[in-house]
Structures are given as C-alpha cells and as structure tokens.
Symmetry: C2
Subunit: 235 residues, 2 copies
C-alpha cells in the first residue's frame, strides 16, 4: 500500500481518508481495527489509532461492533452548511484573486473531468473529479488553516454525496453550479466567484437535505424499529 510517510498510522489514516472521500465505505460497513491491520500486514495499534483519529475528527463513530461512517442528521447538514457559507465564498474569492496559471489549469482540468464523468454517468469518476476540483482551488487559498477547515467540512458529506450524484437531475444541477463557479474563476473575478459560490452553497444544502430526507424515509420504511448501537462521542 501507500507508504508516503514513514509512519504506519499516517499511512492507514491517509488510506482510510481517501476511501471515505470516494464514498468507498458505506454507513452499513463496519471498520474493524484487526481487519485493517491484517489487510495491511501490521498490528492492531496503528490501525486503531488511525480509526480513533477519524472518530475524533468526526468522520466515523464508534459502535460496540467496529467503527462506522457517521451518518448526518438533517440538523447536522444545516449546521455544517451554515459554517461552509461563512467560509467558502470568501476563501474562493481569495483563491480567484491569488491563483497561479498552474492552479488555474488544474481547476480547468478537474472541471473537464467532472463534465466527462457526468456525460458518461460514471459516478466514481464524478466523485473523484469533484474532489480534485475542490482540492485544486483550495491550493490557491494561501491560509492553510482556512483551507484545512474547509476541506474538513466538505468531507463530512461523503456519505450523502453519493446519493446526490446518483440522481441524474440533481447531479446535473450540481455540476451546473460548479461550472458557473469555474467560469468565474477563469474570469478571475473574485466577487463573481464569491457570489456564485454563495449560490452554490444554498443549492448544495438543499440537494443534500432532500437526498438525506429520502434516505431517512426509505430506511424507516424498510425497518420500522431499527436502532444502531453507538458508543463514544466526540463533541
């Protein structure tokens, strides 16, 4: 596997984080330290520490039987978007002002991949390209604390994003917003980027809320008295 850092915990963490970003782990899956350890040929502790870190960052929740991706309540979605609205439009505006030609090219390349994936209805590619687009413009954000915070808040939506892209209509609307932001980046107009990002935030919130609402309804319909045991919680 990847061993960019000499540290096993970081390697496992990066691996898991990428899996989460690509929605390769569903909320019904259970991540167990021993399994991960065996899969990587290492002992439990590094795997466990990586999992614990993901819990403390809010991506996973501990259950009595392994770790699971955190499922967002409707209130979570609203709350997370309230924070995103405060940060992303402004940060994107800064990025539009400060980006280098190289970064602009990266953004455009990612946008092209997004559109191609949409055309081919290739959901995994769409997810990956979407991540690339975000990472590309975030590179132009000179404040690392800002960029890291934004990245983190976006990553909370992994579990819902899959649902958003699965619906063709929603996906198209989503990508349309993205493409308008991209155009504003190309125009190098910080204020236009800011405004379009703001609009995008509201549209995205609505999309996620409606997807999640449907998910919750379906879940309730299928199993009337379903409960998932949960333990540890990090405020």
């Amino acid at each position: 596997m990847l061993k960019l850092s000499d540290n096993l915990v970081d390697a496992i963490y990066a691996d898991l984080r990428q899996k989460l970003q690509r929605s390769a782990v569903s909320p019904s899956d259970r991540l167990v330290d021993t399994e991960i350890a065996n899969a990587h040929g290492i002992s439990r502790m590094p795997a466990r520490e990586a999992l614990l870190r993901l819990v403390s960052e809010g991506y996973l929740v501990g259950t009595t039987r392994g770790f699971a991706v955190r499922e967002l309540s409707l209130e979570d979605i609203s709350g997370l978007f309230e924070v995103r609205r405060q940060l992303e439009p402004r940060a994107a505006a800064c990025a539009a002002r400060d980006m280098t030609p190289e970064i602009e090219a990266e953004i455009t390349a990612a946008m092209n991949r997004v559109e191609r994936a949409l055309g081919e209805s290739d959901i995994p590619a769409l997810l990956a390209a979407n991540v690339d687009f975000r990472n590309a413009w975030l590179k132009a954000v000179s404040n690392p604390h800002m960029a890291a915070t934004i990245s983190r808040f976006i990553d909370y939506f992994q579990s819902v994003r899959l649902g958003t892209f699965a619906d063709p209509g929603t996906a198209e609307l989503y990508i349309d917003g993205l493409s308008r932001i991209h155009a504003a980046f190309l125009a190098r107009d910080p204020l236009m980027v800011q405004d379009r990002m703001t609009l995008f935030m509201f549209a995205a919130e609505e999309a996620y809320l409606s997807v999640r609402r449907r998910q919750l309804q379906e879940a309730e319909a299928q199993r009337p008295a379903r409960r998932r045991t949960q333990k540890r919680g990090t405020a």
Copy 2:
C-alpha cells in the same frame, strides 16, 4: 483524577485540554506519555492516544523528545484570525438573538469575574474567567458544529494569551472590548454584537501579533542559534 467518562483516553484528554486552556503548560514543557501515565497510575497507551489526539487537533506538536504545545508563527496568527473573523461575529449575533435569560446571567457572571480578576491583577483567574465568558455565549449558539469550530480556533491561542494578559495595557484594552460586547449582549442587539465582535477580532489579532513578535524577538536575542527538533505534522 476526574473520570467523568468511563474511558481513560477521554479522561486524560479532558485533563490535558483543561491544562492547555489555562495555560498551565508552557511551550518549553515536554509532555511525555510515560510521565502522564505514571502520574495517573495507568499504562502508556491511553496517555499516548490522548496526546496523539491533541496533536491531530493541532494543539500539540510531536518532537523527538516528548510532545510540546504548538507555538504559533505570525502567519498562523493571521490565518487563524482570518477564520475567526468569518465565524465569530456572525455566531455571536445568533447567540445574542437566541440566548435564554439563564445564559445571559452566565455571560454577565463571567464578565464580572473577568473585571474582578483584572482589578486584582489575578492572571490565572483572568484566564479562567475569559474561558468562561466565551463558553457562556457559545452555549447560545444552536449550531454545535459552529460552536465547536469556534472553540477550537480560540483554543489555539492559549500559549499567546498568557503573554497578552501579562501586559497591563493590552489586558485592559482587551477587557474593554469584551465589556463592550457584553453590553451589546445585554441590549440583545444582534447587529451591535456582530459589529463589536468584528472590532474585537481585529484588536485581538493586533494584540496577539505584537505579543508574539516580542516573544520571538526575545527568544532570538537570548539564544541566537536555537532550534527545536520537530517531527510529525498534521496538515
């Protein structure tokens, strides 16, 4: 020691976090897992996991010789305040709109303690009351993600805050800004709270920058070729 949670890691984490909030750990101190473990009569692992969590949250850095509180560069301070400026004024405005009489009383009580501590030049009490004031108004922020993010960003400044309060002039200015915010809370005027918090953010940034600049100068003057070995870093 405190064992609010049945979990040793959480207990150690809470203990360390509180010590950090109260500036009870100086950047020259070294936190070592075995020491903490012995002090609490437990094994290394829970202590280590708590430390690792504080590292991943950005409060500590790992050195080759124990863990140390993270020292903020001037760029860090500017970057962190850029995020705070986006979040706190708006969140405080929401708090002013939504706060209950109980929370208002808590805020006022904390403000009184701040002023008493200032009068008596009781720095530890001032630090504690300052934390209380913040926690009090944050209770009125209904969005837990917003509140947690703000808390976290404020806590990054522990190491610098001590220096700010040590200087009487700076402390007085700082407390003055706080008291103006408090008055706006009492007036239950969200916009006034928002504006005063914005002003406060800029003043606080300037204060922290100047304190930190002085700290860095003094450090450089004392030991011309001082370097601190550093390892792990979490983006």
